[in-house]
Amino acid sequence: MDLRNTWDKWPDANGRFGEFGGRYVAETLMPLILDLEKEYRAAQKDPEFQAQMDDLWTHYVGRPSPLYFAERLTDHFGGAKIYFKRDELNHTGAHKINNCLGQVLLAMRMGKKRIIAETGAGQHGVATATVCARFGLQCVVFMGATDVERQKPNVFRMRLLGAEIVPVESGTGTLKDAMNEALRDWVTNVDDTFYCIGTAAGPHPYPELVRDFQSIIGREAREQILEREGRLPDAVMACIGGGSNAIGLFHPFVEDEGVRLIGVEASGHGVETGMHAAALNGGKPGILHGNRTYLLQDDDGQIIDAHSISAGLDYPGIGPEHAFLRDSGRAEYLTCTDDEALEAFQLCTRLEGIIPALEPSHALARIGEVAKEMGPDQIIIMNLCGRGDKDIFSVAGHLGIDM
């Protein structure tokens, strides 16, 4: 099949992006995700829903986020012009809130009063707790016990916002276990509960609706670069955990064949060590958390724990649309180790006066090489999807600095 000019037509009616995606859930949840899809289709056609989103995006989140020319970083590498899409300036400090607003508004349309969410680093949990506070909804956040321990500031923020935090002891106490536990809660509380998934993964229609809500990033960036430079960029770049910030940036550009789409996965200590979170570069297709996608797994199909310095990328899978864009050749996926991300974190902080989160530091670490291959008249847009305030303690630890 010729996939050209059809990249933005996915998923199909069965929730598939090529051979990825789908609805791999226990029967108890099937009626719920079918309902959610129906409600989402209705919301998409409802101008009221869109107007409410736009209003909150402008006045609550602070959109549009600026498109910033990173002049000193551009000079430093001496290649293409580097622009940052400043989604770290959003309310709550990351792109996560774009999606939470959309999902919580959907939940309210469906009459659900209780919102559950999983979180790793705590950014999605904080964004969900924030939106729930704004609308007076009950919020329960599942977080691996290990992560609760290493992300104390975010745990406290969520509690301040009125959320209940459930530390998950099962498995290894990280993001995937939090997601398992959220799914267990959902099958138990089907009547009143809405599951607000934090990334563009999970059973259909989640990968699609999370992508659509996050696509505000790419739509703005496209408009802003056209206004500023009078042309489209040559490449757009973003880090990938589950892949929601990346798909939000990529999607409005998928039909523009001259625009390279470059994702950067976290390779932890290195893909060859087995201690990484690079599902596309070091995994195999499989089925987990409702979708068929690339997963870190052993020869028996058991899921292997991911490793990354960045808790937000520490997940053994990836959104199914990225699996599709990779296998179809439309997008490229590079990797970045913990150490490289730490260096890029410091470089950006010193050259641009912007402390990036460890997640986008992974994309920053590869941007120099990509920029150097290109001429000074070419353009790269990178999504600076989160700010680094949350990471300063862990960075200090890695640099051996006693705070």
């Binding site: 069965n14 789908g22 609805r23 791999y24 859930v25 226990a26 029967e27 108890t28 949840l29 099937m30 009626p31 719920l32 099962s170 498995g171 995937k176 276990d177 398992n180 799914l183 267990r184 099958v187 138990t188 509380n189 089907v190 009547d191 195999k284 499989g286 089925i287 987990l288 958390h289 409702g290 068929r292 997963l295 797994q297 020869d299 028996d300 199909g301 058991q302 899921i303």
Partner: protein, 276 residues
């Protein structure tokens, strides 16, 4: 004749005037030899159908008991191939008790549906319950199973309304597993009067035997559920007994406790109220 082995077991229970006892244990918990002895104890003491759990790292539909059983099994190194080998060993001496493999999609998907179907057929497995393969996603599995006559056993739940039940029934074989509560295995306690309409709808629409499970732990609960269904599934209660090996109980004691619970449950399933 795997599918027919399942129907024969339900036919026999029905002609005995009772509901079938479907017992679940996690293969390889805490080791494969214990599982083998437990399987035989189940059958000798009145279990009609056996569900053999295949461990998975991320069992999203299971409560703490079965989660931990899976972790113990994985810690002992159990693989999907080991589970099939256990089934094969059981079949050497038992050709009548249906053996249903219950697990999650990823290990089966990685082995490949066709390779798995062939291996399962060869091992004497009669059907599978793959929790996260709903009707929308199990077509490749059904195609792979057809030549081996393996049953695709589907789940119906309290959230399954009439329209949805038709989808669930279409392409299902062997029996239907009616999940008695919204929730995970072994958590909430089911109430017979709440689920009777759902079970009857499942029987009417599917034309298959309907077994009720999730949260049934005692002989008394089993008796209550037997009155409204073709079979009663007990899992976490067996798994909890087996978990005591980790606290130092011997294999002999565990097998004896499993046998005792099986007799207790089995005696409650006689619809005429007598002791089977």
């Amino acid at each position: 004749m795997p599918v027919s082995r399942i129907s024969a077991a339900f036919d026999k229970a029905r002609s005995d005037g009772r509901s079938a006892l479907v017992s679940y244990v996690m293969a390889g918990d805490p080791d494969l030899e214990t599982s083998y002895q437990v399987l035989n104890a189940l059958v000798e003491n009145g279990a009609d159908v056996i569900e053999l759990g295949a461990p998975f790292t991320d069992p999203m539909a299971d409560g703490p008991s079965i989660q931990r059983a899976g972790q113990r099994s994985l810690a002992a190194g159990t693989t999907l191939k080991d589970v099939l080998a256990l089934a094969k060993r059981f079949r050497e001496t038992n050709q009548t008790t249906p053996l249903i493999l219950m697990g999650y999609a990823n290990p089966v998907h990685l082995m490949g549906y066709e390779a798995f179907a062939e291996a399962a057929g060869d091992a004497g497995i009669d059907g599978t319950i793959i929790v996260d393969l709903p009707p929308e996603e199990d077509m490749p599995l059904r195609e792979a199973y057809a030549p081996h006559e393996l049953a695709v056993i589907r789940l119906a739940t309290p959230t399954t309304h009439e329209g949805r039940m038709k989808t669930v029934a279409d392409g299902a074989s062997g029996f239907l597993y009616y999940v008695s509560v919204t929730g995970v295995t072994g958590a909430k306690k089911p109430v017979a009067s709440d689920i009777t309409p759902g079970v009857q709808m499942a029987q009417r629409i599917s034309g298959l035997p309907v077994c009720v499970g999730f949260g049934i732990k005692t002989g008394e609960q089993a008796r209550e559920m037997a009155a409204i269904s073709d079979g009663v599934v007990v899992g976490s209660a067996f798994v909890d007994i087996i978990s005591e090996m980790a606290q130092g109980k011997s294999r002999e004691e565990i097998v004896e406790s499993v046998a005792r619970l099986t007799r207790d449950l089995s005696s409650g399933l006689n619809r005429n109220g007598g002791v089977a």
